[in-house]
Amino acid sequence: MQGPGIGWYVIVAAILFGTGALGVMLRRSPLIVLLSLELMLNAANLTLIAFARQQGSLDGQIFALAVMAVAAAEVAIGLGLIVAMARRGVALDVDQAQALKG
């Protein structure tokens, strides 16, 4: 395998995951929280694919593909929730959405 070893990819993935986790915990806008979640999922995907390459097994790539499908589903539901919040006049702030009622 040419270029950097698997460890380098995993380090980038770790930093990316930390950034995403920071965004999820720090930001109040549900839109940004959703985007930061995507960052975390993608960091996990990068590790899966890196180790799939190291092991020479395609199972990791299949797993990554499943994660992508779940992420797509998550975005669809998350955006649906955000739009529903906005239409009901709830402020787009994860701290203010405290009750699970319309």
Partner: protein
């Protein structure tokens, strides 16, 4: 020479990946944040190509950057000014705790990596040309991972139905409140 070029491409992708990642988290306008995430996905697709995951790189750009992010940008445009996300964090203690928690996560991974560094993380298996090609992925999906494939389709169906349910018009009294 080829090895050097791979390193250059790797560093460009890593720089783009981390810079756009920070941009996603720090920008106050979700529209720009989403655009930064598209850049992040593109940089990750470069990584996937370097890791011989051709099909996943293509799927990443087509499915993620192509359709999921367009859906996201649609919603940001629909929300307009309400979508703005100024840096109004919670209580200072909460912010500090968030930074500490994220740093702890990072340190954890770095320590584990440091322990495993060496031959474990340097070597890579010998692979054939078809590794990561659509053909080999599809073959695995329809043989060993058929159940996962079918369950994925059900998950997507449930998400689609959920999106429709969430998107239906709210009751009258709620509309007045909004």
């Amino acid at each position: 020479m080829g090895d050097f070029l791979v390193w250059v491409v790797w560093f460009l992708a890593a720089g783009g990946c981390l810079a756009t990642g920070v941009a996603v988290v720090s920008l106050t306008n979700p529209f720009y944040s989403a655009l930064a995430l598209i850049g992040n996905l593109a940089a990750l697709a470069v990584f996937y190509l370097l890791l011989s995951a051709e099909f996943l790189a293509a799927a990443q750009v087509l499915v993620y950057a192509g359709s999921v992010m367009v859906m996201f940008l649609f919603v940001v445009a629909y929300l307009g000014g309400r979508a703005d996300a100024p840096w109004a964090g919670g209580p200072p203690l909460l912010r500090l705790a968030a930074i500490v928690a994220a740093a702890a996560l990072l340190v954890e991974v770095v320590v584990v990596l440091g322990l495993a560094w060496g031959d474990d993380l340097r070597g890579a298996a010998e692979i054939t040309d078809t590794f990561g090609s659509p053909g080999s992925i599809g073959e695995l999906f329809l043989t060993d991972h058929l159940l996962a494939f079918e369950i994925t389709s059900i998950v997507l169906l449930v998400a689609a139905v959920g999106g429709v349910v969430l998107g239906t018009t709210p009751e009258k009294k709620d509309e007045e409140a909004g």
